[in-house]
Amino acid sequence: MKDIENRLKQEAKRLLESGEAEVVLAYGRGYDEKHPMPYAAKAVSDVDNIVFDEYCTFNMTRYLTEYPLGTKIAIAVKSCDSRTLIVLMQEEKVKREDIVILGIPYRDMIDSKTGKAIDNSTACNLPNPVLYDILLGDEVTERDDGSPYDVLKELEEMELDVRWEFWSKEFSKCIRCYACRKACPMCYCDPCFIDQSQPRWADKSPSLESNLMFHLTRFYHLAGRCIDCGECSRACPVDIPLHLFHKKVSKECEEMFDQVSGMSLDDKQVMVDFKMEDSDEILL
């Protein structure tokens, strides 16, 4: 891991020096060892502040849309993060030629809040970045972790009313701090529908109904786009397992449209693209 950090610093330095990148999006020190922070190195002198350890869970692609189109950006990505990049490129929010992708072949990250390992039950947990220019280490070899959808089994086996109860309880907890959508690299809408007053799509006060209006709409907006990085759930202060819902939607999308999000630059977003073979199931 120290190797990755060193390689990261080395490449960041090189890219900033050569002007290949104006910004390097990576990780920096936080208020203690267990709490690193997202970090944007803009000068060679910033490079020393870069760190990488198992707590650097952040999906740095979240910050890409804050920079004007055309900014030359180098970005450190882990597996799911690289898939985000692909979706953002499909959506023309970033251009491939503007981005230097520093791939991190590492997957045993730890959620600093819970101390638990991030595995395929909370994220996509592919071993290696799908797309990169420079891989900061050797490719991680496959190991059989099962499918990222295995975790849904329990939910799927629930009777409908039990499942409704489960989600009702979870969504009742929401305090509408919007950390989930703000941590989400796909939620780049500004303003988000929920912030609008004409019309006000849902009440501002947290109630099950208005919370559902927010979350379900957001889930729908992420359909076929979510790349299962799990940032939403990690950001949630009240521990709503949002990733489970996203995983469920992703699974359905894959089944209906035969496409896994963020795996190929040639794909088009399933919800705004029409193919003859598309499932009609959604209409029924």
């Binding site: 929010k93 988000c192 529908f193 609008q196 019309p199 799509w201 977003q269 705004v272 693209d273």
Partner: protein
């Protein structure tokens, strides 16, 4: 908005029989903002309309709700009523309590309750409506007809006769379509070519018609009055501008291909015109069979061509054409009956399909008009099998409408040209057109044997010596309830008329709908049979469903008239209910750009927002639905109005 009038229509008993109108009127009258609520027997009648206008003026209404039939029926009527009373037409809401209540709900309480809920929603919505002004656009006066069969030819000629410029696009090298393949036409038995070729020639000669053969429409953008059509000119390898049609190239060409025109029963050259009367009389090279293209050597045609018209380097080219209206006349395909193995088509040489038989009769056909089989012998007995693949729930449930009549025509021609016994194996004889029944009666007298029963099987397995060397048609004569084995030399199948194999794609190109059998869908089966759901695109001929020549021609003329209602105008009133983008709310995701069929949205990279070209917008709302931030606002269907209506519906 706060002064709403609600007008509830009885529609005779159509609505009143299940919806308690008085209840509904009383309910509506109590709703917030409703100052008047009235019921009337026929709201669309003149007194009904006057009632609404009177109340608009008397109560100073600023919103009108008419609870009646589908807005497809009378929205325009009531919009005019509102406008006539000085109210903006977009301040009207139609509530459909007929199709959505009385016609689909039997229970009176339920139907009444649903009607109230719908009106409640409409009241919420009407509070939020805003007046809109119509826009006008210039109309391109030219038209396009796609498909060069009899439908397309007729439509093009009609339009050209009014002085309008017409582009006639045909995918094959000649116009004429299926009708050119026919020998005689029922019931009059006049020669198909004799009546068709003058029209084909008229097309060629007409200065208003731009004839585009070997062409396909690849993209249609724009909208009624201003369609931007991209037409692909497929490479012909012959420069038709230079070619003088001497056809000496054809004579010398050593390449051979199967004649499409003769349904594969004969060969043609690799550089060819499909048939002698083809229009234009200029050849094309079939790349698949051309020896030069296959082997890299030959170019005989090039050598003999004095006009220097042969061009092996020719490529497909694209042409952009703007027209005000489009007529789709893309015709039909004949069902491939090979999969219906019980009839042995493709297996037994003696089994023919109807189009092949047409060619056998024709003097320019493979047998030069002699009815002989593939072995050169004249058939002694012939069975004509009706309804192959049509009127058959396993294949096509519909009736192909022409088979009975052409089967009679065939029988007549067989009798005329051979001494064979002719059997008709039919389910019902459907002879509904003018002179058709008479034709049937005439055939009854021509010693044609009619067996009422659908053929079950064609086989060469014989059970008795007199069946030897024959094809056996197994059929139950349902009149006598007898199972029959008919030994015949020749079997003629009447396959279903199908939608063209590429009808689905073509429909998408033109943004029109198809029915369950893939025929193009008309806007209304009775009242708007030539229009489609895309304004400015009309239908003619068998692309809309099986039909015979008289019907096709009549429809073509009708479609031309429909097209004229557009290209005949200088300006067109556009729907005012288009969309616009709130730039403060647009997140720059470009979903709108991706989903719009009319290319109305575009993306401004500098500002990071989408913009709508309102001239292109049809107000379909697809972009608004796919916009995650609600930045796209569809006039007359704003988010507020929707949410209001839903609140009203759910409240009840």
């Amino acid at each position: 908005m706060s002064r709403i009038g609600v007008f509830v229509c009885h529609c005779g008993m159509n609505i009143a029989k299940t919806v308690r109108i008085d209840d509904v009127v009383e309910f509506a009258g109590e709703l917030p903002g409703v100052v008047v609520a009235e019921g009337y027997k026929f709201m669309c009648s003149t007194p009904g309309q006057e009632l609404i206008q009177e109340k608009i003026k008397e109560c100073n209404l600023d919103g009108v709700i008419v609870a009646a039939c589908s807005p497809l029926m009378h929205e325009k009527t009531f919009r005019k009523v509102a406008e006539g009373a000085g109210l903006n037409q977009y301040l009207l809401t139609i509530v459909n309590i007929r199709e959505q209540c009385s016609w689909v709900i039997e229970d009176e309480d339920e139907a009444t309750s649903k009607a109230k809920a719908l009106i409640n929603g409409a009241v919420y919505r009407t509070h939020l409506l805003a007046p809109l002004e119509s826009r006008f656009i210039d109309v391109n006066p030219e038209a396009m007809v796609v498909g060069g069969g009899i439908a397309g030819i007729q439509a093009a000629l009609e339009l050209a006769a009014t002085g309008k410029k017409v582009y006639l696009v045909e995918k094959s090298p000649t116009i004429g379509g299926h009708m050119a393949q026919f020998d005689k036409t029922f019931p009059t038995l006049d020669c198909s070519a004799c009546i068709l070729t003058p029209k084909m020639d008229a097309v060629l000669q007409n200065p208003n018609i731009d004839l585009m053969t070997s062409c396909e429409v690849t993209e249609v953008k724009g909208f009624v009055g201003n369609f931007d059509v991209t037409v692909k000119q497929k490479a012909r390898y012959v420069d038709h501008d230079k070619c003088n049609g001497c056809l000496s190239c054809m004579e010398k060409c050593p390449g051979r291909g199967l004649s499409e025109f003769d349904e594969g029963l004969d060969k043609r050259k690799s550089i060819y015109i499909p048939f002698p009367q083809a229009v234009p009389q200029k050849p094309v090279i079939d790349r698949e069979t051309c020896i030069y293209f296959k082997k890299g050597k030959c170019r005989v045609c090039e050598q003999v061509c004095e006009q220097d018209a042969i061009d092996f380097e020719q490529e497909d080219t694209y042409r952009d054409i703007t027209v005000g209206a489009i007529i789709a006349a893309t015709g039909y395909g004949l069902m491939d009956t090979t999969p219906l193995v019980q009839y042995g088509y493709g297996k037994y040489p003696g089994v023919y399909n109807a189009l092949e038989v047409e060619r056998l009769f024709n003097s320019t056909g493979p047998t030069e008009g002699k009815v002989v089989m593939k072995d050169g012998k004249e058939p002694e007995s012939i069975a004509i099998l009706h309804c192959i693949g049509s009127r058959d729930t396993n294949y096509h449930e519909y009736c192909s409408r022409v088979c009975c009549m052409y089967a009679l025509k065939f029988a007549h021609l067989f009798k005329e040209k051979t001494s064979a016994d002719v059997y008709q194996l039919y389910i019902d004889m459907r002879c509904f057109g003018k002179g058709y029944e008479e034709f049937y009666n005439r055939l009854l007298e021509e010693n044609v044997k009619f067996v009422r029963g659908k053929a079950a099987r064609v086989t060469d397995v014989t059970v008795s010596p007199d069946e030897e060397g024959k094809l056996i048609v197994e059929v139950e004569d349902t009149l006598s309830s007898q199972f029959m084995r008919l030994p015949v030399d020749m079997v003629v199948l009447s396959p279903a008329m199908e939608a063209q194999a590429d009808a689905g794609e073509v429909a998408r190109t033109f943004n029109i709908g198809v029915d369950k059998d893939n025929f193009f869908r008309e806007k209304h089966p009775k009242l708007d049979p030539l229009s489609t759901t895309t304004d400015g695109v009309f239908l003619a001929g068998a692309c809309q469903g099986p039909k015979d020549i008289p019907d096709t021609v009549a429809q073509a003329i009708g479609a031309a008239a429909e097209a004229l209602t557009i290209v005949g105008k200088e300006q067109l009133e556009l729907e005012a209910a288009t969309v616009y983008v709130d730039p403060y709310v647009c997140c720059g995701c470009q979903n709108c750009v991706r989903v719009c069929t009319y290319s109305a949205p575009s993306f401004d990279v500098e500002k990071n927002v989408s913009e709508i070209n309102e001239a292109l917008c049809k107000g379909c709302g697809l972009c608004a639905a796919s916009c995650p931030t609600g930045a796209i606002i569809a006039r007359h269907f704003t988010n507020d109005q929707f949410i209001g209506e839903m609140e009203g519906l759910m409240e009840f």
